[in-house]
C-alpha cells in the first residue's frame, strides 16, 4: 500500500490537483478570481506542473535527469507564485488598516530578507547526499530552501495578525492556514530528505507530503464553500462604567 506506484500513491499524486482545478473553477464561478488572482494562478499552475511531473514519472521514455531538471524548473516557478500568494494575503490583511500597513509591509520585507539569508546558510551546509546524481540532492536542498522562507513568512503573517487582532476574511484565513500547514510539514520532510537521512524510507516521506497536500486542498475547499462567518450583527455596547471613567479621565486632561 505505502509503496511507490501503488493505487494510494497514484491517488494522492493526482486527486489533490484535480480538486485544485475544481477549486479554480469554483473561484471563477463565484467571481472570486478578481479578489484572489494569485491563488487562482497558483491552483492552475500547480495542477499543470504536477500532471506534467506525473506523466514524466510514469513514462518509461523520460530519463531521471530530465525528470529532476523539470522538477527544479517547476519548483522555481511554483516558489515565485507562492511568494506572490503570500503578498496577496498580506495585502488583504493590511489594506483596511493604514495604521499598521506600512509597518507590516516593512516587517514582512525584513523577515523575508532574514529568512532568505538563513535558508542560504542552511543550503550551504546541506550535504550532497547522492553524489552520483547531484541534481537530485540539489532539488532536495532547493525544496528545503524554499520552505524555510515560505513557512517563516506564513508564520509571520499569523503572528502579526494575532498580535494586532486583525481579522481575516474567511478564504484568506483558509488559504493561509493551508499554506502554513503545507509549508511547515514540507519543510520538515525535505530537511530530512536533504540531510540524506532515512534513505530506505523516503517513499514514506513522499506519502506524508502527498497526504498533507491533499488535506490542505480540502482545507481550501472548506473555507471556499462555507459562507462568510456571520459576525454578530447586534452592536456591542461599550460598558457604561468605562465610558464614565474615560470621560472623567478626559475631563481631567482638559483641565490640565
Amino acid at each position: 500500500m505505502l509503496q511507490a506506484h501503488s493505487f494510494l500513491w497514484h491517488y494522492l499524486w493526482l486527486a489533490p490537483h484535480i480538486l485544485q482545478l475544481v477549486l479554480a473553477f469554483l473561484l471563477c464561478r463565484r467571481g472570486l478570481h478578481r479578489l484572489f488572482p494569485v491563488f487562482l494562478a497558483y491552483a492552475v499552475v500547480e495542477a499543470i506542473e504536477e500532471f506534467t511531473l506525473y506523466g514524466m514519472d510514469v513514462s518509461p521514455s523520460v530519463s531521471g535527469e530530465t525528470f529532476w531538471r523539470t522538477f527544479c524548473v517547476g519548483l522555481v516557478v511554483e516558489g515565485l507564485i507562492k511568494f506572490a500568494l503570500i503578498g496577496e494575503l498580506a495585502l488583504h490583511l493590511l489594506r483596511p488598516w493604514p495604521a499598521v500597513a506600512r509597518m507590516g509591509n516593512r516587517l514582512i520585507t525584513s523577515s523575508g530578507v532574514v529568512l532568505v539569508l538563513l535558508a542560504t546558510l542552511a543550503a550551504a551546509y546541506a550535504p550532497i547526499d547522492n553524489p552520483d546524481n547531484a541534481i537530485i540532492s540539489r532539488a532536495h536542498v532547493l525544496q528545503q530552501t524554499l520552505y524555510i522562507v515560505l513557512s517563516g513568512l506564513v508564520l509571520f503573517l499569523f503572528v502579526f495578525a494575532a498580535y494586532f487582532k486583525l481579522s481575516w476574511n474567511n478564504l484568506d484565513f483558509g488559504i493561509a492556514l493551508g499554506l502554513g500547514i503545507l509549508s511547515c510539514e514540507h519543510l520538515a520532510a525535505w530537511a530530512i530528505t536533504a540531510s540524506g537521512a532515512l534513505p530506505d524510507q523516503r517513499h514514506l516521506l513522499d506519502f506524508v507530503n502527498l497526504a498533507t497536500y491533499h488535506i490542505c486542498v480540502l482545507i481550501w475547499f472548506y473555507y471556499l464553500l462555507i459562507p462568510q462567518q456571520a459576525v454578530t450583527k447586534s452592536a456591542v455596547a461599550l460598558p457604561e462604567h468605562n465610558l464614565e471613567m474615560w470621560n472623567r479621565e478626559l475631563e481631567r486632561l482638559l483641565q490640565l
Binding site: 488598516w97 513557512s151 486583525l166 481579522s167 511547515c184 454578530t232 456591542v236 470621560n247
Partner: protein, 174 residues
C-alpha cells in the same frame, strides 16, 4: 544531521504556533464578554511618569546612582501602564470589528475609526515597551513613550464616539 534536526524542530514549533493561533481565531469569545475586560488607565499619572521635565528635575536633584534607581522604578511603572493600554486596545479592536458589521453607516464609520486608532495604539504600545526596556538598561537615555498618550487620548475619543452612537441614552460629558 544536526542542521536537519534543528530545521525539523523549528518546523514543528512553527506548525504548533500556527495551529494554536488558528484555533484561538476559530474559538473567539463572544464579543459581549469583551467589554468588561477593559481596565482603567489613569492617564494623568501615566503622563506624569513619562514627563521628560520630571526626569530632568529628578536628574538635577539626585545623585547619578539614585537617579538610575528612581528612573528604573518609574520606567517599570510606565511599562505596566503601557501593557494595560495595549491590552485595552486589543479589546477595543474586537469591539470595533463587531460594530463594523452593524447596518448604520455612521456607526460603522465610527467603529472603523475606533479600530484604526486602537491598532495604532497597539503598535505604539509595542514600540514603547521596546523603548522602555532599552531605557531600563540605559536609564540616562531620552523619553521612551513619546506618542503613546496622544494615541490613547485619540482612542478615548473614538471609543466615546462609538459608545454615544450605540448608547445614545448614556450621558457623555465632554
Amino acid at each position: 544531521m544536526t542542521l536537519a534536526v534543528t530545521i525539523v524542530i523549528a518546523a514543528i514549533l512553527a506548525l504548533a504556533l500556527i495551529l494554536r493561533i488558528a484555533i484561538s481565531h476559530s474559538l473567539q469569545a463572544p464579543d459581549g464578554s469583551r467589554a468588561g475586560q477593559i481596565q482603567p488607565v489613569d492617564v494623568e499619572a501615566f503622563r506624569n511618569l513619562i514627563n521628560p521635565a520630571e526626569d530632568d528635575f529628578l536628574r538635577s536633584r539626585l545623585s547619578s546612582h539614585q537617579f538610575r534607581v528612581v528612573r528604573r522604578a518609574r520606567l517599570r511603572a510606565a511599562a505596566s501602564y503601557v501593557r494595560v493600554a495595549g491590552r485595552n486596545s486589543a479589546v477595543l479592536i474586537r469591539i470595533g470589528e463587531a460594530a463594523l458589521a452593524g447596518g448604520d453607516p455612521r456607526t460603522a464609520e465610527a467603529a472603523r475609526q475606533l479600530v484604526g486608532d486602537a491598532i495604532l495604539l497597539r503598535r505604539n504600545a509595542a514600540l514603547a515597551l521596546v523603548r522602555i526596556y532599552v531605557a531600563l538598561a540605559w536609564p540616562h537615555s531620552g523619553s521612551a513613550t513619546e506618542h503613546l498618550v496622544e494615541t490613547y487620548e485619540r482612542l478615548n475619543g473614538s471609543a466615546m464616539r462609538l459608545g454615544r452612537m450605540q448608547n445614545p441614552g448614556v450621558a457623555v460629558r465632554l
